[in-house]
Amino acid sequence: MNREVSINAAMALALLAVPIIALQIGQTFTITLATRIAILALAATGLNLALGLGGLVSFGHAAFFGIGGYAAGILSAHALSGEPMMFGFEGSQSMPVIWLVAAVLAGLIGLGIGVVSLRTSGVYFIMITLAFAQMIFYFAISWPAYGGEDGLSIAVRNGFPGLNTMRPMEFFLVAYGLLMLTLGLFSLIRSSRFGAALQAVRQNDVRVASIGIKPFPIRLTAFVLSAMITALAGALYADLNRFVSPSMFSWHMSGELIVLIILGGTGRLFGPLAGAALYVILEFVLGGMTERWQFFLGLILLAVVLFARGGVMGLLAGKARHG
């Protein structure tokens, strides 16, 4: 077993062990922190597919995170009120149904955004993805039916068959399970022919074209998959807070997802988890000391960019194989 695999396994076990221990000693808040880590890691894993493997610096992934959140909020609100939605659909409080709707919706919107934005590159790509996310942000603000600027509360956390998601530990297990499944999918994609082509496109798309592969569909597929995964995280995040608001669509959120990946290690399988863990722990520890904890986070981010480009995973497991 190589060093990175051992570290990945240790991190996966630690994320599972901490809430179990916290449950034994009655520290419910720690379980919530671990759940937040798992959900943010899931969102960042989605972005890592586009950014880490494909080199697509999307500054608009909050759009997909928010779509997931609003899918959870809106479906839940209709299910509780009994007021039918479009086509007579009565909403749902079942997480698998919500995830399916969130992923399909984010996939379709991601397809639209991707078709337009992936025709550009570099700073133009960053700006176009940001512009789309801001459009959706302002749409959410001006949508009074679902709370507008005030957002939308989820009175009762959505359910998962066989589990009581109102219990923090059981909800954590849902988030943890989905994160591990997604990391498995990410690993499969990375080692597949598609994953190799995606990384090749990041390195040189002209060279990819000269071996008969059109770079655009490869990038688009990665972007859409990435959007779908981030939306799943958004749905879980809404359930964690039992609240959705337009802030889920904000550019701060997009930036936060990028920060998680840079902190953890771009393109690394467990980079998003390492980044999310560090971010949430820093937020908790520094936030307890000062209101201006993000200033110190900025310093740490600066140090990572200047001295440890591989992020936490780079420091722990060495240089990326696919750096």
Binding site: A196, R207, V208, S210, I211
Partner: protein
């Protein structure tokens, strides 16, 4: 006729690089594209692959006009390019470099391994960690994995150690014996002329001489190739 290039011109920005290149290649033929440095050999290859789109003239491959076709479609018609400077995907392994390019046909990983046993030994290594010669073998292997009807080799042995050059030339002779059509650019005339069925010489972006290798006399070599 497998490849038919007629009177193509090409530009880099406003600077004209090709002024009328003519070149043809039949199925199973090996054509040497020759000329001194800067005469347009690499630009001609790029124009054939549409990496530098030709402005005038016509290019047909297997009877299909490729002039306005995107690069990936030209490649899919069956043109395998080994670009100048061993351009592999440095952050992919040897295996990933090969499978990414793979298309159905007689060229498989096993066959590439037989042609270049070193690649089999290094299949899990990153391309960037290979020696120059191994990277060149990988570039040839990757082009063959696309199962091309025409293999284009642009300075495939440049800058390599003599032993490795021999390996590459041995592979080229073996590919010729298998009946693969090859368009090759190389400065090593002692290796190039025996393997070529025909030579096409470029000067200042124009085709100036076409003929059999034995007809490329010392005088002509002196005039066009400066050797």
């Amino acid at each position: 006729m497998l490849l038919d290039v007629q009177e193509i011109t090409a530009f880099y920005g406003s600077s004209q690089a090709l002024f009328g290149v003519n070149l043809s290649l039949s199925e199973g033929e090996v054509v040497a594209l020759m000329g001194r440095n800067g005469m347009g050999k690499s630009t001609t290859i790029k124009a054939i692959c549409n990496l530098v789109p030709p402005r005038d003239g016509n290019i047909a491959f297997g009877g299909v006009t490729t002039r306005a076709m995107p690069t990936h479609k030209v490649a899919r018609l069956g043109i395998g390019l080994v670009p100048e400077g061993r351009r592999c995907f440095p952050n992919l392994t040897v295996y990933e470099n090969l499978v990414t390019a793979a298309r159905p046909g007689p060229w498989t990983l096993e066959r590439i391994s037989k042609l270049f046993p070193r690649l089999e030994e290094r299949k899990n290594q990153l391309a960037r960690s290979l020696s120059g010669g191994e990277q060149q073998m990988l570039a040839v292997g990757r082009a063959l994995m696309t199962n091309p009807r025409l293999l284009i080799l642009d300075e495939a042995t440049e800058g390599l150690a003599p032993v490795i050059r021999q390996d590459i030339w041995r592979a080229i002779r073996s590919l010729k014996a298998d009946g693969l059509s090859i368009l090759v650019v190389d400065k090593t005339l002692s290796e190039l002329l025996p393997v070529a069925d025909r030579c096409v010489v470029l000067e200042n972006g124009k085709t100036v001489w076409t003929g059999a290798p034995h007809a490329l006399t010392a005088d002509l070599q002196d005039r066009y190739l400066g050797v």
